[in-house]
């Protein structure tokens, strides 16, 4: 599309209300009751002048620009705050209104710089447009009176400037911060002429305030007061392309606003079904990595990992790689080769990598980063419900009465969904948080959890069993639902199990450290609903009982009848943009696309017929098993697309040993990541801005990713995989990513109705999309579970082997923060670094005092697996005995400390529980210095020497 601003109807849409018909400027219009006159006019193409109104915040009625005349009504009411009535007759343009509006506009312009031609918002400014609309030709008051033109510019935020000289104090930014983002960082300070927008206290600038840089204020600003620095530097965009964000699993859609091949800004798309026009600091602003100087755009190879890299042509790189892989296969057999698909890449690219492994390498040794995040979700929900995915769409939260968050930190990990959640909480929904840390959702402006259960890390199953105990023994279970929808015998077994007195909150308090009374209150609240929904994250899955916890969550939802309608459900908050899709596409070693087991001959035969090659009927190796087998000498080659397992996977020393033992490691990525230190081949990757395909978000929504610029390396990632496949003798001949999706649809029943053409025409669709659900499935298990009867599974709490003791008396848990993303490969290469330059160790004041530590001190963090050093942050956000850090920075390598312990069912690592000791340190450890030196050596490029 060319560049047009997004339509703005002035006030929010009203849903689910009876229709009302009125007449506006002689035209009849029918809209839902409760709609504003302003919006009704906009629906029929009328454009009532306005300044303080915008359709993502409630009407405010302050600018006096949108006045109208209504038959039978005195005065000139503001159309933004006047609801429609049946039979109402409205005039939006009369001599009286013209005069009033022009007079108001004169006042605005008398205190506004007249630098339109050099203003960054020139020709993209609502104040300018409105002045034109009202026919302003003169300002009778002149410009010499008291004004704000000398107000100083705030350039502290790395992505946008605040120029109060251009502010008309319409409060749109303040209201967007409150209503859309829910942070309440902005306010109007002073009154009358002195009124001004302020970020926090008068002494704060934007960077120093509570502002989280979501960009909602910038999007809402009608002038150049809040404007992107990129627009100032580059100019107004000349076209816009809708695409999908490549950060977290919320799957926000954006308008990539371009000049030529240059991205000017990413603006959240109002019609985005996941984000509904909102964004976070990562998706909105942190895209500069795409053209960062560190980006590698030419292929490189080397004989040994001790050699410097040698830049080569694509042809030579592919020939070298194919020859190595073929030689290894000939000598060691197909099961010596494998691949890792990327949750950052598209469905189409992921599908091709697993196809290459299964159909080209000839093994099922394919895995994906879901191994280290949500593999227990796949296991647990498939077992209980029959589908390895969440049950709801994000809109569902608008119908929720009680929210249970366990092991998730939505404001940091899934910030756009967190904003929608906070909005619902401000409307009166109740909140239970189960988390060892006092995350922001526990208490933030206008949000206060009814219960925060700060459990001991590793006791999720005990907590959920105790909640189930309360619900069953107090007669709060929805037995009618269970009898109709679930296996009644299995329910009774489970109910007997949880009713055992040893599972009471009072007994388990010794294990969980959660007061029994709080737990009982939380359980009663959850059962009371009537619509109770569970949202969870990696604090559930990354445990030795990750799968058991998912099973326990599903049990709780079924026992209380909270499945199968809007407002309820089990909602895994998926970490990466396409981790759901990567799992759907057959990235696990035991199953083909659509979660069908590899041993099923019927399913295999479908793929064998399509691909023209036999498929190994045996499950392949998972990532940790690949590394074990490499150390053993039976696994020799690994193709890794878009993952950095050295930094992201547990027990870094073991990962390094596994990689070093292989004969051919191929890293296909944007940057020379940490894993590439052990690679023989580097294939440059393409960013999400440079490719066409689809991502599937946490609500199973398949959405288009559209290429907005040419790949800097010359190829989209699927094309690189195809080059390698062809060099290995496979006759692939895709000419467009849509053909890959067509193949996926042919082979995967839940994707049968999905094609690029349909997604282009209809927008995102939630799988399953097939004959039974032609329009997709916003809510699953509506009339019955996919597996038939819902299955209750008894989940015994089994303490982790990772125990504290005299040597390692503290428990470490890890997570991520708002401004950084996973291993930081992208966000560290953006201005987001200003908010998080290094990983910090959060430690409780008591534990810090015992060790003589204060904030900012270097500390040694040691476990039985390894040790690292980082700086301390003393805070009571963590409980005594618990420490916390992030894993965004390779200098810290937090995973040097984490262990090989993993979930019993899926081998998902136990990142959330590591016994550690913390002590004072003088600075980076010898290992960190050695590692940094080795990384520097490994990144030498011959051509550059």
């Amino acid at each position: 599309m060319g560049y047009e601003p997004q339509p703005d109807f002035g006030t929010p849409a009203v849903k689910d209300a009876p229709p009302v018909t009125l007449t506006i400027d002689g035209r009849q219009v029918t809209v839902p009751e409760g709609t504003s006159v302003m919006r009704a006019a906009a629906e029929v193409g009328g454009a009532i002048p306005r300044l303080c109104a915008t359709d993502n915040v409630a009407a405010y009625g302050s600018c006096r620009m949108c006045l109208v005349e209504i038959e039978g009504q005195r005065g000139t009411p503001a159309s933004c705050t006047t609801p429609v009535r049946d039979g109402m007759v409205v005039q939006t343009q009369t001599p009286r209104l013209e005069k009033l509006r022009r007079g108001v506009m004169e006042l605005y312009i008398s205190d506004h710089p007249l630098d339109c031609l050099t203003c960054s918002a020139n020709n993209d400014c609502e104040l300018q447009d409105t002045a034109a609309q009202v026919g302003l030709r003169d300002v009778r008051y002149g410009y010499a009176g008291a004004n704000h033109l000398d107000a100083s510019l705030d350039t502290s935020n790395p992505y946008f400037d605040f120029d109060p000289a251009k502010c008309i104090v319409c409060s749109r930014c303040v209201r967007a911060c409150e209503e859309v983002q829910g942070t309440f960082a902005l306010t109007i300070e002073g009154r009358g002429f002195d009124a001004k927008v302020s970020a926090g206290l008068a002494s704060d600038n934007f960077l120093g305030s509570e502002c989280v840089s979501c960009g909602a204020c910038v999007a809402a600003c009608p002038t150049a007061t809040l404007n992107e620095k990129a627009v100032k530097e580059i100019g107004k965009p000349e076209r816009a392309v809708i695409t999908t964000c490549a950060y977290c699993g919320v799957g926000c859609t954006f308008r990539a606003e371009m000049r030529g091949q240059q991205l000017v800004r990413m603006v959240p798309w109002k019609d985005g079904k996941a984000n509904r026009g909102h964004s976070c600091v990562k998706g909105r602003f942190a895209w500069g990595y795409a053209h960062h100087a560190d980006r590698i755009t030419r292929p490189m190879i080397r004989e040994a990992i001790t050699d410097p890299w040698r830049e080569v042509s694509w042809d030579e790189a592919i020939r070298f790689t194919a020859a190595r892989l073929t030689a290894i296969k000939d000598r060691h057999g197909a099961r010596a080769l494998g691949g890792i698909t990327s949750s950052r890449c598209t469905n189409e690219e992921t599908f091709l990598v697993q196809k290459l492994v299964r159909g080209g390498f000839g093994s099922n040794n394919v895995d994906t980063c879901a191994r280290v995040c949500h593999s227990p979700t796949g296991y647990g929900l498939a077992k209980t419900f029959g589908t390895s995915a969440g049950t709801q769409d994000f809109d569902s939260v608008e119908h929720t009465d009680v929210v249970l968050i366990i092991g998730a930190n939505p404001t940091d990990g899934h910030p756009v969904f967190a904003s929608r959640l906070k909005k619902r909480l401000r409307q009166g929904a109740r909140l239970i948080v189960i988390d060892p840390r006092r995350i922001d959702m526990v208490r933030s402006p206008h949000v206060q959890a009814d219960y925060h259960l700060p459990l001991q890390p590793g006791t999720n199953v005990a907590i959920l069993t105790a909640m189930a105990h309360v619900i069953v023994t107090e007669g709060l279970a929805d037995e009618a639902f269970v009898r109709e929808r679930c296996d009644w015998d299995e329910y009774q077994d489970w109910a007997r199990f949880v009713s055992d007195p040893r599972h009471s909150p009072e007994i388990l308090e010794a294990v969980t450290r959660v007061p029994a009374a709080d737990l009982r209150g939380a359980a009663r609240l959850f059962a009371q609903g009537p619509n109770s929904a569970i949202y969870y994250g990696l604090g559930v899955t990354e445990h030795s009982q990750g799968s058991s916890t998912v099973l326990a969550i599903a049990n709780l939802a079924m026992a209380t009848g909270n499945i199968g309608r809007p407002g309820v459900g089990v909602n895994p908050l998926r970490g990466q943009n396409n981790v759901q899709g990567a799992c759907d596409m057959g990235s696990f070693p035991h199953e083909l696309a659509g979660y069908r087991h590899i041993s099923d001959a019927g399913t295999r035969s479908l793929f064998e017929a399509e691909w023209g090659t036999p498929i190994d009927p045996e499950p392949g190796l998972r990532i940790p098993n690949m590394l074990d087998a490499a150390v053993e000498g039976t696994f020799k080659a690994l193709y890794i697309q878009g993952e950095d397992i050295l930094q992201s996977d547990p027990n870094t020393h073991h990962v390094a040993a596994g990689l070093a033992a292989m004969d051919c490691v191929i890293v296909h990525d944007l940057f020379l990541n940490e894993t590439a230190n052990y690679a023989h081949v580097f294939l440059p990757g393409s960013t999400f801005l440079e490719k066409t395909g689809t991502f599937t978000n946490a609500e199973r929504r398949v959405q288009m990713v559209r290429r907005v610029m040419d790949p800097a390396n010359g190829y989209e990632d699927w094309e690189v995989t195809q080059l390698l496949a062809k060099a290995m003798g496979l006759g692939w001949s895709y000419t467009h990513a849509s053909q890959i999706m067509d193949e996926i649809a042919r082979l995967t029943p839940s994707f049968a109705g999905i094609s690029h053409a349909r997604l282009e025409a209809e927008g995102g669709l939630q799988w399953p999309v097939n004959d039974a659900a032609p329009q997709g499935s916003p809510v699953m298990h509506v009339d019955g579970f996919v597996r038939g009867k819902g299955k209750f599974v008894v989940t015994e709490y089994i303490p982790t082997d990772e125990r504290t003791g005299p040597r390692y008396p503290l428990l470490l848990t890890t997570g991520r923060i708002l401004s950084q993303y996973n291993v930081g490969a992208q966000t560290r290469r953006t201005a987001n670094a200003v908010w998080h330059e290094e990983d910090l160790l959060e430690i409780h004041p008591l534990d810090a005092e015992n060790r003589g530590l204060k904030s900012g001190d270097w500390v040694r963090l040691a476990s039985r697996a390894g040790e690292t050093t980082l700086r301390a942050l003393v805070t009571d956000r963590v409980a005594p005995g618990v420490v916390y850090t992030t894993f965004h920075h390779p200098d810290t390598q937090a995973n040097v400390v984490t262990t090989e312990n993993s979930d019993w069912a899926t081998n998902c690592p136990e990142y959330k529980v590591t016994a550690v000791q913390v002590s004072a340190s003088n600075g980076p450890s010898d290992w960190q210095r050695d590692y940094a030196a080795q990384a520097r050596r490994s990144r030498r490029i011959e051509a550059a020497e």
Binding site: R335, S548, E618, P619, R622, W904
Partner: protein, 78 residues
């Protein structure tokens, strides 16, 4: 098979068995065997069959005895 890898397999098998034990000894042994057949690569299953049974819990030991020596994975049951 190195000691480290063998120890890892033993730990994994015992962990699976422990988590399924609440279903009763016989059912747990059958489910443990099925789990290993469904999710473990053949070389891992083969290595598990070679470990000293004394290292395994009773349920894990019973599960290993049920593993198909031919190495074929059991068909999916759900």
């Amino acid at each position: 098979m190195s000691g480290g890898t063998t120890a890892n397999l033993v730990r994994m098998a015992n962990q699976i068995a422990a988590n399924l034990a609440a279903h009763g000894a016989d059912a747990a042994a059958a489910e443990t065997a099925e789990h290993i057949a469904r999710y473990w690569d053949p070389r891992m299953r083969a290595a598990l069959r070679e470990v000293d049974p004394a290292q395994l819990s009773a349920i894990a030991r019973a599960a290993v005895a049920r593993l198909d020596p031919a190495g074929a994975a059991s068909p999916p049951s759900d």
